[in-house]
Assembly symmetry: C2
Homo-oligomer: 228 residues x 2
């Protein structure tokens, strides 16, 4: 009994032990299943009973890992925000700063969101009225805006966009464009991924529109501003 399995040593408190790691794995598994349930039954169709069924456990057991159904929603929201941010940040970091980074970042974001539709809906459509994300869960979206704003500033600095592109307005415009593409794709072609539907192919065109929205100062305008 005390041979080589499950040492069951009282946690030598100080740093995460095996037990804590195992627990974290279970939590992630619950969240994965919850995501599947939302994909099948809709975001609002998530229920602890169904998660328990798929996990092969009785519903009360889940309360050892989450305090309530809303707790699960919040963990899903937080995990989704973090993954989404990480994907976008990585794509931007790998690309040339400025417009290219912005484009690659948004495309990576779109791909990830379409591949994780249930989470995308939870993050952007807020279809569960009784669920309000915690401040902690909302934090990554602030950083998202910062990332996009920085890319726009880079694009202005290297002469790809006019100076007004370094603004909150431009960030809103960017998110409006991407949100339009994704909403159409998610609602109208629920089973297709990025590039296979009727709407995401418009993405490059939208990026060109962004350039048109913030044109570089013409030489005439430059002259005028210099001569004043």
């Amino acid at each position: 009994m005390k041979s080589d399995r499950t040492p069951a040593a009282p946690p030598a408190s100080g740093r995460p032990d095996r037990r804590a790691r195992r627990r974290q794995e279970t939590i992630e598994e619950i969240l994965d299943i919850a995501e599947d349930v939302m994909t099948d039954e809709g975001v609002t169709g998530l229920s602890l009973a169904e998660v328990a069924r798929r996990l092969g456990v009785q519903p009360p057991s889940l309360y050892k890992y989450f305090p309530s159904l809303m707790g699960v929603y919040n963990a899903l929201f937080l995990r989704g925000q973090r993954e989404h941010l990480a994907v976008m940040r990585q794509a931007m970091a790998d690309a040339e700063p400025g417009l290219v980074a912005l484009t690659k970042g948004l495309e990576a974001s779109g791909r990830w969101l379409l591949a994780n539709r249930a989470i995308a809906q939870l993050l952007f459509w807020r279809p569960v009225p009784s669920f309000e994300p915690s401040p902690e869960a909302l934090a990554p979206s602030v950083e998202m805006v910062t990332l996009q704003r920085a890319a726009l500033a880079d694009a202005v600095a290297v002469g790809q966009l006019g100076p007004e592109a370094d603004s909150d307005e431009a960030v809103y415009l960017v998110s409006t464009l991407i949100s339009g593409v994704l909403t159409q794709a998610m609602a109208n072609e629920p089973h297709l991924e990025w590039g296979q539907d009727r709407f995401t192919p418009a993405f490059p065109k939208l990026m060109r529109l962004l350039v048109a929205a913030y044109p570089l100062p013409t030489s005439k305008a430059k002259r005028r501003s210099h001569s004043r």
Copy 2:
């Protein structure tokens, strides 16, 4: 008893009598209340029990008017599509054909949708997985596309947009832009109406972008195409 109230004549079958009109009024009232419920509890939070409670009747009574909860969803969907189409059509008819009509139509559409958010979500987000609109309920959206397409064709005809604007692609682009604005407004500023939020003010800018997306042929390009 037979005085002047409720003649209760057996329906002289042939055309709608008082009874039928009264019935239709009740149906509309049920749909109005259902809309309120969706506004309060979310689109997926609609329940016949809650509608009955607010109407002041017992739930089984509602089954005299609708065959099921999904029947109510479908009636809401159909009524929403028709009203939305009517609003847009009227706004376009009142305006100068071409870009002005398109802009006025889209703006009227946006106003109506933000003033009827629950219906807008039902129509465009499809958040109720077990609900599939009937073909009849989907018909008005086909006409919607026709309307927009006609306005784009007018705009090309009067020289406001380049020839490529008379295309399905352009219709998709228009609906992507408007859907982006509305999604952002609905999800992020749930209580503000058109023009008071952070996103709908971008609408005029988006219409200018549409013009930029379909430029008129330059005189140089014209010359080239004539000389081939």
